[in-house]
């Protein structure tokens, strides 16, 4: 195993829209920039590179970054911060020591999963998860797909899957028609969103779109055969091969929280130049508030300029981000989760998929910490990323402190001594 040391003026963690924008903006000012991302290619999730190649937005930015001399580190998972201004990341075979003066966190978001009987059956996936699988080479041609949950992601995924040959049987949105109508009115203020909406309407013509509807159970032996949905007060059985089910997005705030950045209502608190509560650490995109791709790009630009010391330039973009942030607030209100979704899980429904901990056992616990100690919920590889949002919604628990490694790492990696780090730290790490 090889250790590689790198030094940057500005290190960006996360190569999606916000991270790409941040790296690009910082690089305009001649500072040394590095960009690290866990995925095999740049683009994050919305611009995820698959068998069809890279998205033009990601490709163009990537070329710009390369010609500006930005060092791009794909397949790199940051898992610890052993001393100030040093992050360590693991790749497939090696260890990276990443030193920086300023840091931009652009770690994006993940889907929120909520439990219902049968949700662990193979071919029940996230909506974004199913799209990612198809982007990555699985042929969905002729397969019956049901999409359920909440959020604009459902429609984007529906359009994509249909264009790639899926037979979309239904889209079930848990929000009410009334909430969506109000959302539609708000969209009128954002011209580009109207265009997007029109295109979606065309792409999805003929697909049943049902509001105030949600999955109640998934059925199948080895793999999914059918889904029971609640619709208009009745239960309907829908035959399908795949269920893409996600309940909007949860910000990836683990690294920010670990570094001491203050969170407010689950999001990283930032000022008007995207600076967090920790000096020298900026945060852009979904971790500061779920707001979509345009907002992520502008926030990334602000953070990139600010991290490179160009605060006036960063400030000049603030009004643009404010306008886009209004759309973000509307998203939150429109796609709020209804209380019926808390009552779907049966006693034997799995909540913690890593450790197979069921709802019945967790219901008896009093807090996240107690549940962790008594049942191992949250102690598996996902480290609470899937079960945490569920227990927060079901029981109101919030996970306590974030401990390193903040992402699973190989024993071999954890045992590798670090250069220029105090020997005491290495011992301390072993005890955690």
């Amino acid at each position: 195993m090889r250790t590689t040391e790198k030094q940057f003026d500005v290190l960006v963690v996360g190569g999606g829209p916000a991270g790409l924008a941040a790296a690009s903006s910082a690089a305009e000012h001649g500072v040394r920039v590095g960009l690290a991302d866990d995925n095999p290619a740049l683009g994050g999730q919305i611009w995820r590179k698959g068998i069809a190649g890279a998205y033009p937005q990601a490709e163009n930015c990537s070329k710009k970054l390369q010609s500006a001399g930005v060092e791009i580190l794909c397949g790199a998972r940051v898992f610890d911060c052993p001393s100030p201004n040093l992050l360590i990341a693991e790749t497939q075979d090696d260890l990276l020591e990443l030193r920086f003066r300023k840091l931009v966190l652009a770690t994006g978001a993940r889907e929120r999963f909520l439990p219902f009987p049968g949700w662990t059956i193979p071919n029940v996936m996230g909506a974004g998860g199913l799209q990612a699988l198809v982007k990555s080479g699985y042929s969905i041609v002729g397969k019956k797909v049901l999409l359920a949950g909440t959020g604009p992601l459902l429609l984007a995924v529906a359009a994509y899957l249909r264009a790639h040959g899926a037979q979309l049987v239904m889209i079930c949105e848990q929000a009410s028609l009334w909430q969506l109508a109000k959302f539609g009115v708000c969209l009128l203020k954002h011209r580009d969103k109207i265009t997007q909406a029109r295109v979606l309407r065309k792409d999805l013509a003929g697909v049943p779109f049902v509001t105030s509807s949600w999955p109640v159970a998934a059925e199948g032996n080895e793999a999914l055969k059918a889904v029971l949905i609640s619709r208009g007060g009745r239960i309907e059985k829908i035959d399908c091969d795949f269920l893409g089910c996600g309940f909007h997005l949860v910000p990836n705030t683990e690294l920010a929280a670990f570094l001491g950045c203050r969170l407010r209502q689950g999001f990283v608190e930032v000022d008007h130049i995207q600076q967090s509560s920790e000096a020298g650490i900026f945060c852009a995109g979904e971790p500061t508030g779920i707001g979509g791709v345009e907002l992520s790009v502008v926030e990334g630009q602000i953070a990139g300029h600010a991290a490179a010391g160009q605060e006036d330039l960063a400030r000049s973009l603030f009004s643009r981000s404010q306008k886009l942030r209004k759309f973000a607030d509307t998203l939150d209100r429109t796609f709020a989760l209804r209380p019926e979704l808390r009552a779907l899980a049966a006693a034997e429904t799995i909540i913690c998929r890593c450790e197979d901990v069921a709802y019945g056992r967790l219901k008896q616990q009093t807090s996240w910490r107690a549940a962790k100690l008594q049942t191992r919920c949250g102690m598996g590889p996902c480290q609470g990323r899937v079960c945490g949002p569920q227990t927060e919604f079901l029981f109101g628990w919030s996970p306590d402190s974030v401990r390193p490694p903040i992402f699973p790492a190989r024993v071999e990696t954890l045992g590798t001594p670090l250069r220029d780090v105090e020997p005491d730290y290495c011992e301390m790490r072993g005890q955690q």
Binding site: D38, N39, P40, Q45, R48, K49, G50, I51, G53, G75, R110, E111, F113, T120, P122, N123, V124, M125, G126, G128, G129, L130, Q131, A132, L133, S136, G137, Y138, S139, E222, A223, N252, I350, R353, C354, E355, D356, G380, P381, C382, R385, V386, P408
Partner: protein, 82 residues
């Protein structure tokens, strides 16, 4: 026409387009990535590398997140381990 990548999933030959992930190959082979603690079949959930439900053995290395690994020629994927 770009060349297909040939790999095996549980001994079965699977052909995937370049850039495809191992998770997509496993799904194409109608296999599942792993077995849960209680022995239930599990496969892709998040598709982006955070849930670890897609972890499987690739070329003898266990616990590889197959949704984040691109297929390469001759890869041997074995999903039958925990």
């Amino acid at each position: 026409m770009p060349e297909e990548i040939m790999l095996t999933v549980n001994g079965q030959i699977v052909r995937m387009p370049p850039g495809a992930t191992v998770a997509a190959a496993i799904a194409t082979a109608s296999a599942y990535c792993r077995s849960s603690v209680n022995g239930e079949p599990r496969t892709v959930l998040c598709g982006m590398g955070v849930c670890f439900e897609c972890r499987t053995e690739i070329d003898g290395r266990p616990h590889q997140r197959s949704c984040q690994i691109v297929c390469s020629p001759g890869m041997k994927v074995n999903t039958q381990h925990l």
